[in-house]
């Protein structure tokens, strides 16, 4: 009797202490719900659970800046989530640690709710011979425009070329104290990613790249030319003062408040801009070109943890998220484009002008995403930030900046 009770007690204790929940319960770690505060993702999970009564989903929401370190540390101590919200630039680092489950076999299944060929291509590209993530949504990096300031400075249309952008930023900065042509967020504060928000989109519109396959290639003429362009714009007063202490968040807030003419950032920010300041005379355009219509493609990706004990259930949930109907709802909620292009028509219905413009950019221009195969991507942003700060202070030339970044990045990747 005593023995039976002891066994029952031990079983109960073991069940209570087991970190991975019972079969049919999966955990989804992401930052998406932090950017949609209207409860959309809670409803999405409830809808999924209603359709799949044998699976429950625990929604774990963290700010974007916290998710990467949580995935790594949770995985290390064996309490990682099953389904992971991912950012393409984290891919190579996560692969080196062995966090992600290859998705090739899942994608090859006949009973999926989507066709792999319909998914946005950028996150699917194979690294180490496998596909590691699928796109929940996608958006291009664009330039947001304060048309009120553009007109006040004497121009009729937003800039389409680098030369026009230089002219308009200087003219807007000259309007009055406290108004600047464009903000550049090159602060060292976390996530210290100003260069990938602003510099890379300008570089791609100049036909340049920073990677040669999986090897950093930062000291090339196109990079130097783009750095020189930034330096000239800063020297001409077109750039908001204090770039070295300006964060991406401040940059967005300053634009929303109507104090900067232009903002280069993901197209998904258009919903924040229009909802927070409906009075702003606002539009968005492709990042001004210097010879090439290319854009940095970005999005919210999804993967499955290699350590998940419920991979089948995790895939069932991912499969649900990628079905055209659900994917269209998720895209609309984020004011982004769907990861499943079959949902494009549903998203286009009732879409506002800014979303239509993003669709045009996506369909007509060349998408570029280099960071997903970059070694030490996050560390490399910090290095770029520090060297660009030094260049804008006048401590080094653009060519020296490119050389310094290349050397430090290679050292970091060793």
């Amino acid at each position: 009797m005593i023995k039976t009770r002891m066994t029952a007690f031990a079983l109960a204790a073991a069940t209570a202490l087991t970190p991975l929940a019972a079969q049919g319960e999966i955990e989804w770690l992401q930052w998406f719900a932090a950017e949609n505060t209207d409860g959309f993702y809670d409803e999405l999970v409830a809808d999924f659970e209603a359709k799949h009564p044998d699976i429950t989903v625990k929604l774990v929401t963290q700010p974007f800046g916290k998710v990467r370190e949580s995935i790594v540390t949770d995985s290390a101590i064996g309490v990682g989530s099953d389904v992971l919200g991912l950012n393409m630039p984290w891919t190579k680092e996560f692969l080196d640690i062995g966090i992600l489950e290859p998705l090739d076999d899942y994608l090859a299944r006949d009973d999926n709710s989507f066709a792999t060929g319909d998914l946005v291509e950028a996150p699917l590209g194979k690294i180490d011979g496998h596909t590691w993530m699928v796109p929940l949504n996608a958006f291009p990096f664009v330039m947001h425009v304060n048309m009120g300031l553009v007109r006040e400075a004497g121009f009729d249309a937003p800039p389409a070329t680098w030369a026009e952008l230089s002219a308009q930023t200087s003219a807007i900065s000259a309007l009055q104290d406290g108004t600047s042509g464009i903000g550049m967020p090159f602060s060292s504060q976390p996530p210290s990613n100003g260069p990938i928000l602003t510099f890379l989109p300008l570089l791609y519109a100049n036909g340049g790249r920073i990677m040669d396959g999986t090897t950093p290639n930062f000291d090339n003429p196109k990079v130097v030319e783009t750095l020189q362009y930034l330096k000239d714009m800063n020297d001409a007063g077109g750039m908001a003062p204090g770039a070295a202490s300006r964060t991406g968040g401040v940059d967005l807030e300053e634009f929303i408040a109507g104090r900067t003419g232009f903002l280069i950032s993901p197209g998904v920010h258009s919903s924040s801009i229009t909802s927070r300041n409906p009075e702003l005379d606002y539009t968005l355009v492709r990042v001004p070109s210097n010879g090439e219509n290319a854009y940095r493609v970005h999005g919210w990706e999804i993967g499955i943890s290699a350590d998940s004990a419920n991979k089948e259930d995790a895939w069932t949930f991912v499969n649900y998220l990628l079905s055209p109907e659900v994917n269209a709802r998720a895209a609309k909620a984020a004011n982004a484009l769907p990861g499943n292009l079959k949902a494009l028509d549903a998203v286009r219905e009732g879409a506002d002008e800014t979303l239509i413009k993003q669709m045009d950019i996506l369909s007509g221009d060349t998408p570029v995403e280099e960071m997903r195969q970059s070694p030490k991507a996050v560390g490399s942003w910090s290095v770029m930030t520090e060297e660009i700060q030094a260049m804008l202070r006048g401590d080094q030339t653009p060519a020296e900046t490119a050389t310094a970044v290349q050397a430090r990045w290679i050292e970091l990747a060793k």
């Binding site: 602060s187 770039a243 700060q389």
Partner: protein, 295 residues
């Protein structure tokens, strides 16, 4: 036999009561401490499934890394500057709010002046970023007064960033010192001031010859505590400057975080953390010796 068991039970009771505390201390202090030291002896952990034992190689790498010494020097500047700032402002304000004024006014000022202490580091960092922004209030006032012609990038200029950080740290940290000294001031016997006044002592003479000597034990203890806390301060620095511009405000705690969560070099990060631990332990020993002497 029975008496032996009873004796053991009686003698063991105090240890039984100590057990929860020991278990908590063991779990929360000893295990992480042991793990950090252990991690520092491997090539890399957490991201490396099969780490290799490398002995003291990480310490050797660290001691030859200019980035470590630069962060160490910044930590020294930041710690000494902050503690001095806390002391000067804290003592000054403690004297002011200890003045013999209307009780309501005194309560009001004491409550207001303690406010910086209750704000979280995030709120403090964000507020000071707005104040120190090139278009912020501080630049506006300086230009309005004719002290500067161009807005200064307080947190983005390597020559100004550490000074700005010290200003923020002083503002955040003075209330603890102020409250400690205020309680110390209230224990100084009034007779000593009266005797000094009879001898013709003015404000400064009373401060140097009565107040400071009487507060000496409090000053020493509080300064050491402040030194220990500030030496390993992380959130305020990380959220205010991120260690930048460049590495102008990189301190040992931010270097630890950068190595761990930006570069995923967890063993190197553990090595820096151990060096912080050793220095903090030295300060703590000094503090404990001081407290023991006072008792």
């Amino acid at each position: 036999m029975t008496s032996t068991i009873r004796q053991m039970t009686t003698k063991g009771t105090p240890y039984f009561f100590l057990l929860p505390g020991l278990v908590i201390l063991g779990a929360l202090l000893s295990v992480p401490l042991y793990k950090v030291v252990e991690y520092s002896l491997y090539d890399n952990v957490i991201v490396e499934r099969n780490p290799t034992y490398v002995g003291l190689a990480n310490y050797q790498t660290l001691l030859t890394d200019p980035g470590y010494w630069s962060a160490g020097l910044n930590t020294l500047l930041f710690t000494v500057g902050s503690v001095l700032g806390h002391m000067v402002v804290g003592i000054g304000l403690a004297l002011l709010v200890n003045a013999d004024i209307a009780p309501r006014a005194r309560t009001f000022f004491r409550s207001m002046l303690v406010l910086p202490w209750i704000f979280t580091a995030v709120v403090v960092a964000l507020n000071w970023q707005l104040l120190l922004n090139p278009f912020g209030l501080i630049n506006y006032i300086l230009q309005w007064m004719g002290l500067t012609t161009e807005p200064l990038d307080w947190l983005g200029d390597p020559n100004l960033a550490m000074w700005s950080l010290l200003l923020i740290s002083t503002w955040r940290g003075y209330p603890f010192i102020m409250v400690s000294f205020l309680s110390g001031l209230q224990t100084v016997p009034r007779e000593l001031y009266e005797a000094a006044e009879i001898d013709g002592a003015g404000f400064w003479s009373k401060f140097w010859h009565v107040t400071l000597p009487q507060l000496k034990p409090v000053i020493y203890g509080v300064a050491l505590l402040d030194l220990i806390w500030t030496f390993q301060l992380f959130p305020l620095v990380w959220l205010s400057t991120g260690g930048g511009p460049g590495r102008a405000t990189e301190v040992l705690s931010t270097l630890t975080f950068r190595l761990a969560f930006v570069d995923f070099q967890f063993s190197q990060a553990a090595t820096v953390a151990v060096s912080i631990l050793i220095i903090s332990a030295a300060f703590t020993l000094l503090y404990l010796r001081n407290e023991a002497r006072r008792l």
